[in-house]
């Protein structure tokens, strides 16, 4: 390579500003519509392994077959996974917040969501309440938009 005359960086800024319109499959659409309109959280069964998948999907990942049979899930569940997020990321909510996976009563898989109502001013103090296996309630927002964030979790009293 010939010697450049200047080593000053030459930087070109580019932005990607894209819009997508994702069409939900009928199973996913039914779950989100029922969540919004009726305030119910549904799971769906696998005819082969008999697991109840939540949130419901059109195909069982294990048996590679179509799922069938809607199940209304309970409003309680078990805290399976969580983390307290402290890192601010552009376009995402202001930290700190708790993200969690909860296994609803009647389901064999867990749903992801925000876990709200825990004082996060001290990590140590928050961790006295947040433990894997803790009982939680599945709450619904008053103003629902047909999104997974229409539901959220709270530690059971």
């Amino acid at each position: 390579m010939s010697t450049p005359e200047s080593t000053e960086p030459w930087v070109v800024e580019q932005r990607w500003d894209l819009t997508y319109n994702h069409s939900a499959d009928p199973v996913t659409a039914h779950f989100l519509r029922t969540l919004r309109d009726e305030g119910k959280v549904l799971g769906i069964g696998c005819p082969v392994c008999k697991r109840v998948l939540a949130p419901p999907r059109p195909v069982c990942d294990r048996d590679f077959c179509e799922t069938e049979g809607w199940v209304e899930l309970g409003s309680t569940g078990t805290l399976e996974l969580f983390t307290i997020m402290y890192l601010a990321i552009d376009g995402l909510p202001e930290p700190p917040y708790v993200l969690a996976y909860v296994m609803p009563e009647g389901a064999d898989t867990a749903i992801g969501g925000f876990l709200e109502g825990v004082d996060l001013s001290s990590t140590e103090a928050a961790l006295e309440h947040l433990t894997v296996g803790a009982p939680v309630t599945i709450e619904l927002r008053d103003e629902r938009q047909g999104r997974i964030t229409d539901l959220y979790f709270r530690l059971a009293e």
Binding site: L81, I89, L99, T109, G112, T131, I148
Partner: protein, 401 residues
């Protein structure tokens, strides 16, 4: 699985790595490809004309910012009029590309294949915003999950199952940084103490800043050859004696029940599956005595702990104290990530290829200050898709029979 014809023996005969570092100081994306490829060709004493096919390791291009970037890359990887294949399995990309190159040669279709890739992870300052886009648009993206929260949740599960402490995680970071300081190609070359790790700020509990990988830039390349095509003037061949891959279920919420192996989301079951297959291929029946060192893809410290178990180096749930005892140190029983690993260097598209290249350098005895004395059999692993795609390669100084 059905029986297949025996694969031909395949060796790495030349490797190249650009020094890894911050994106702002790295060459243009395509230039790094060419630099790494030229290094590997030079090490193999080959010209681009002697290469039959090229495999490009390019993870999500939204990081480097050019869509369908294999178009732009082709001129810089010697792809003109050659078979060009682009591989993308997220963080596992680099080793998936090596696997594709291996299959090119092992099948008998090609004699010599160039495998090359690069990344500039901070080309956009929005890497975690991009990673949020790897979640499906209906159920999970709004939550907002990122690669950091996913590993944090796995660590929480592992802590709950086996009692791992944050201090044990910090010890992994201390080891990684000690080794990385010895590696001239590492991005982060600074020793840290366990206390420094403990005092660093939380990213996502229980992960702290010094439990985490950096966002790196750099290029990496490997020339693979059939046994017949190995030139005497090439670097001493490092043989691929086993290679395998396993994908895990997409939904993390589906991975919470304890499997037949006794694994759950706190563990790395698909890595264990991939390792079992690769070990069987390589004739490894007792990894604890037959493996001299491991380069494993662990973007956060707790991943290294559960990977050690998935690779059969420790029983399930027992690895964390072994790290504290120095079992996996550079001078320990089985050095884990002698290069400093992903905690010191993470150029995503090639991070898993760097694991392979470091394994090659180890069995060639050319790893320098982080050489494991007498290393003959070294394992390299990759992980991608936020702990969804796992691959394993076994590299040996001895040609398979």
């Amino acid at each position: 699985m059905t029986d297949v014809v025996s694969p031909r023996a395949v060796a790495a005969v030349g490797v190249g790595q650009t020094p890894f570092g911050p994106t702002s100081e790295a060459p243009t994306y395509v230039v790094m490809l060419q630099q790494a490829a030229s290094q590997a060709l030079e090490a193999a004493n080959l010209t681009i004309d002697e290469i039959d096919a090229v495999v490009l390791a390019l993870a999500p291009e939204s990081l480097m910012g050019v869509n369908h970037a294999e178009r732009w890359c082709t001129d810089y990887i010697g792809g003109r009029m050659k078979p060009v294949l682009r591989i993308q399995t997220g963080g596992a990309t680099g080793l998936s590309a090596v696997q594709a190159g291996y299959q090119h040669v092992a099948s008998g279709l090609y004699e010599r294949v160039l495998v090359v890739g690069a990344d500039r992870v901070r080309e956009s300052g929005d890497a975690q915003k991009i990673f949020n886009k790897i979640w499906d648009p209906f159920y999970e993206r709004a939550l907002p999950f990122t690669t950091i929260t996913m590993i944090a949740m796995s660590a929480v599960r592992y802590m709950h199952n086996y009692g791992m402490t944050e201090r044990q995680m910090a010890r992994v970071s201390q080891k990684a940084h000690y080794n990385g300081a010895l590696n001239p190609n590492a991005h982060i070359r600074r020793e840290v103490t366990v206390d420094e790790v403990m005092e660093s700020r939380y990213l996502s509990w229980p992960l702290k800043l010094l439990d985490a990988c950096p966002q790196s830039a750099g290029g990496c390349a490997v020339v693979l050859s059939s046994a017949d095509a190995v030139k005497p003037e090439s670097q001493s061949p490092a043989w691929i004696t086993g290679v395998s891959m396993a994908g895990e279920t997409y939904y993390i919420g589906d991975r919470l029940e304890t499997s037949e192996r006794g694994y759950d989301y706190g563990d790395a079951e698909a890595l264990a599956v991939a390792a079992e297959r690769a070990y069987a291929m390589a004739g490894i029946t007792d990894p604890r005595t037959q493996i001299d060192a491991v380069e494993t893809y662990a973007s956060f410290t707790p991943v290294e702990i559960h990977n050690a178990e998935a690779l059969g180096l420790a029983d399930l749930g027992t690895a964390a104290p072994l790290f504290e005892e120095g079992f996996f140190d550079l001078d320990g029983e089985i050095p884990l990530n002698p290069s400093g690993g992903v905690i010191c260097t993470n150029p995503i598209s090639v991070t898993a290829m760097v694991r392979f290249v470091e394994a090659v350098l180890q069995v060639q005895g050319r790893a320098g200050a982080h050489q494991v004395p007498g290393a003959k059999t070294v394992v390299a692993t990759g992980a991608g898709g936020s702990h969804q795609f796992f691959n394993v390669a076994i590299v040996s100084s001895e040609q398979p029979k």
